[in-house]
Each structure stands twice: as structure tokens, then as C-alpha cells.
Symmetry: C2
Subunit: 256 residues, 2 copies
């Protein structure tokens, strides 16, 4: 780290060998000094897990040509902590996480390892962005998403972000020319309707696979789901102050 170019930390939750992180490295590598610290295996659905009951590994690897790169046994949030404390020995100027294979719009933000890395960056006071593409396939075309990530990372490096705010950027799956533009949105109110797929193991014991259907019950035209449905990139400013400030008044009328 001898130059005065910005330091950009790249991480993800699909693991260091996922095509999405390669696309993200390519998207931001000319914007600064890129350092990759990412999980050594897939960590989807890890939410904001951190590893406190097991030791963590951190190993230098040579995956992206000319770029300092480490894999860890930890979660996406662990990656950001390890990068700051043990790799960079300083805060980077930007954290970018992704490009996730699959949507992190709406309620997915709660379950997302990709977004937890960006949240962890914001907790550290670092401008941070999570990127996700609306296609789960390993071999999804990342070209348009890479262009979006480049533009967004450049803007955030130039403008910064309000304190305590990170960005949740979701990208529709289409050719770049067919992306209609960018919309600043709120998180749509939605949930998963769970169905557990019940099976028997070879020993006769039951087990369950979690699966769910996304149910959007928010018909606003200012939501991320609406923007994406209309082929816009959705940008949700996201915070880690979970206080429901609007409910404080109501609760203060309770007679504790």
C-alpha cells in the first residue's frame, strides 16, 4: 500500500471462487488498490453471523492476477473485521461486497451474507455497498452488473455516504442497454412463505430442507421490488440502527 490511491476491500458471501466476486474485482480494479478478503466456501444465508466459538483461518491465495487476496474460514462479516485488523491494518476507503448470485432486495437484506459484509463496513464507518444480480445461476452473465458496480463504486468514492448509511444495490438480469436507469428506493415489505421439504435419511430419520416462496405484499411504486420489475437498478440506502423510532411514542403510553 504505497500509493495514495483509495484502498478498496472486496468481499462476498458466495465464496472466493464465485464468478460474481471476479466480476466485482474487475469492475473496481482501476478505481484504486484492490484487496480481496473473502470466505473460502459459500456463506449464503449467513445473515450477520460472526464466528466466536471457533478459531478463524486467514490464508493468502493467488486467485486474481496482481491483486492481494486472502481467503478465510469465516463469515462475510468476519472477512471485513479480519481485513481491517489483520490484512490492511487500517480502514479501507470503500467496501464492496458481491456481486451476489441472486437478489438481496426487500426482506432478503435480513438474511444476506453479502449485505452483512457491507453492514459491517458501515459499522466501521467505511462507505460500503452490497451488489446483487437477479440471477442465481453460477454462470449468469455478469457484464451489465459489472458496469453498474463500476459506476456506483466510483460515485461513492467521490461523494461518500451519510454516516451510518450503506447501499443495497440490486441489478436486474438483462443486457446493459436494457437497464432503464437507477432508482433510489425503500425496502419492499415482503416475506418468505416457508415450505419445508421433509425427507427420510438412509437410517430412517426425518430431516427437512428449508425452502420458501417470496411473497411481496407491498404495492408501492417506490420500492426496490417495483424498480427491479421495471428493469431499473434499485438503490436502497440501508442502516444498522434498527430502532423503530416511530413506535417510541406508542410504547411510552404503556404503564410499565
Amino acid at each position: 500500500m504505497t500509493s495514495d490511491r483509495p484502498i478498496i476491500l472486496v468481499t462476498n458471501d458466495d465464496g472466493i471462487t464465485a464468478p460474481g466476486i471476479a466480476a466485482l474485482v474487475n469492475a473496481v480494479k482501476h478505481l484504486g488498490e484492490v484487496v480481496v478478503v473473502a470466505p473460502d466456501s459459500p456463506q449464503s444465508g449467513m445473515g450477520h453471523a460472526i464466528t466466536i466459538s471457533e478459531p478463524l483461518r486467514l490464508d493468502k491465495v493467488d486467485i486474481f492476477k496482481g491483486i492481494i487476496c486472502y481467503q478465510t474460514s469465516g463469515t462475510p462479516a468476519d472477512c471485513v473485521k479480519l481485513a481491517v485488523s489483520k490484512v490492511l491494518h487500517r480502514k479501507p476507503d470503500l467496501v464492496v461486497s458481491g456481486i451476489n448470485h441472486g437478489s438481496n432486495a426487500s426482506i432478503n437484506v435480513i438474511y444476506s451474507g453479502t449485505m452483512s459484509a457491507a453492514v459491517e463496513g458501515a459499522i466501521e464507518g467505511i462507505p460500503s455497498i452490497g451488489f446483487s444480480l437477479l440471477n442465481y445461476a453460477h454462470d449468469a452473465d455478469m457484464e451489465a452488473a459489472g458496469k453498474v458496480a463500476h459506476k456506483m463504486a466510483k460515485m461513492v468514492l467521490e461523494k461518500g455516504l451519510p454516516e451510518g448509511v450503506l447501499l443495497n444495490v440490486n441489478i436486474p438480469y438483462c443486457d446493459f442497454e436494457n437497464i432503464k436507469g437507477y432508482k433510489v428506493c425503500r425496502q419492499a415489505r415482503a416475506k418468505y412463505n416457508e415450505e419445508f421439504d421433509e425427507r427420510k435419511d438412509p437410517h430412517g430419520r426425518n430431516y427437512f430442507w428449508l425452502r420458501g416462496d417470496f411473497a411481496n405484499f407491498d404495492h408501492g411504486d417506490d420500492t426496490d421490488v417495483f424498480a427491479l420489475k421495471n428493469n431499473f437498478v434499485s438503490i436502497v440506502p440501508t442502516q444498522f440502527d434498527l430502532t423503530a423510532h416511530h413506535a417510541i411514542g406508542t410504547l411510552n403510553t404503556w404503564n410499565f
Copy 2:
């Protein structure tokens, strides 16, 4: 489930054998039909992780006398999903999670498995409360915390909660007589300053233990940390809409 008493789901993140969940079961068992679905092992720091890459086990166990009780191999959020879909076959009237051994005030809410179960309940539209005691010890005295949990659960059963809002209740560690009262609070702005404890395994390879010091940089007298320091129970109304609504205006001035 033949009575018309409310159904109360009890879960936690310290695991089904932790003293905290026993205290919570005792605290709420006279308020309705209690059903326990909790992790079969400790899940602290799991944030809002869900299990999508591995199958889940769900086994009936006999731990709390006269109370239907299941342990799962999943996370706290999985427990709520499994309870609704596979145990109760309906939504309970209340989800209570805890009593956590250790604080979930301030930024801890982000990392907390205890709170993720309550968040999952709220996503399902169920009134939900997470309880945490400011003592990490396995043998901490849960008597005062149990009384607080009883009172809060009773109130929420009677009054309900605003849509999309759950409660993060933290309890100071002192005798019940020394608790000064209840304060509705906001989440204090704070973070952990990480330190990784670096060691070598018997094979000469490095590994790291994550540890951190809690750093509060919020001097407001309306925060959970302030309330707890002054021996009040802190009640933070908490939401899973992570949109930073106040930042939408700023971002709309950007020229995308």
C-alpha cells in the same frame, strides 16, 4: 392445542439446555400454552443466519415438565420457521426468545441470534420479544430477569405491538428490588473494536480468535446503554425495515 389460551413459542440462541431458556419457560408458562423449539447447541453470534445448504433436524425432547419441546439443528431464525410450519401448524400468539446470557443492547442487536428469532417472529407478523440479561455467566441469577420477562410478555399479549415492530428487552444484572423501572429507548450508537488473538496450532499454522471491546460513542440519555447503566430495563422497539429513509433525499440529488 385444544384450549383457547394463547400459544407462546419460546426459543433462544444459547441452546435448549441453557439456564436462560428454562427461566423464560418458567416466566411465561402460566400465561398460555407454551411450546419450546430451540437449537440443540449454542448459536451465539449467528445474526440472522438461516440454514439453506444443510438439512435440518427437528426432534421431540422431554426437557421441561409438561411442556411440548423440540430441539433443532438449525439457527434461532430456523427455529421460528420450523415451529410455525412443522410443530404448531399455525402462528403462535407470541414469540419470546432468550433469556440471553449477555447483553443484546446497542449494536449487539445486529449480531444476536436471540434477537434474530424475535425478528423472524415479527416478519411472520407475530408479536415478538427478545430478552437478554447483562451477565454472560452460565450460572447467572435469572430471578429478576424472569420477573421482567413475565411482565413484558403479559403486556404484549394484552396490547399487541405495532406492525413490523418487535421489542429488544435488556435487563440489568441486579436484584429485582434494585431495578429502577422500565425505559423505552433507542439503540445506542456503538461498535466493537476488534482484536484478533493470534495463535499457532500444533502443526505450525496460524489461527485467530475474534474478540472485541465494546465502544460506546453515544452520550444520549435516551439510549439503551444509558438506561441499563442506570439500572433500568431497556426496551427498544426494533424493526426489520432497514431502509435509511432519511438518506433517500440526499441520494436523489446524485446524478446517476
